[in-house]
Symmetry: C2
Subunit: 120 residues, 2 copies
Amino acid sequence: MERVNLNEKFSKIAEHWHPYIVGELNDNYIKLAKLKDDFVWHKHDDEDELFVITKGTLFMDFRDKTVEIKPGEILTVPKGIEHRPRTNGEEVFVILIEPKATKHTGDLVTERTVEQLEWI
Amino acid sequence: MERVNLNEKFSKIAEHWHPYIVGELNDNYIKLAKLKDDFVWHKHDDEDELFVITKGTLFMDFRDKTVEIKPGEILTVPKGIEHRPRTNGEEVFVILIEPKATKHTGDLVTERTVEQLEWI
């Protein structure tokens, strides 16, 4: 029952594409991440994923289109849909809400996959 | 796979304390609401509830304390905990994320309870 100040938490994050947990909501984690440049194409077979942008512009590539998301905008990526988040060289701050079981690289495991998520 | 612009959706909401659905996330709805003055004391026996503030200051009363939440801050109200959201006379915009089964007045049904939630 404590509020979470997002900027205070973001200030503790150094790496890009490394989500940290800031809260729990039923069976979901609330995570924060700083994004920059391109991520990997991936999908989550069983989980929808919510992106809430608080800084910068996120480009979400789908196989047939790209959706641009700015602060004050949100996007849900439905389960099973291949997607690649990327930025245009700038740093983007994002709140992610997704089931606890979700891996951020989906069904793909690369050297960028963070296996053990941590709280900040 | 369409972004949702929060201010565009908020501009369609006239009433206070009436949540509208703007998205789905696994078994949760993403809702928007405009809040002003006091709501009712209530609790949700089985569901945590996430408040993301985008405008104004929300005061969340618990039986033993009050938590103040501003834009850029979030609060999870854990299941089973009595709470009363209220504002200091100003209008507050909030994103709510909670399981589809959740009633906004919890286990209390009053004339303010919205039985059938609608999408905007």
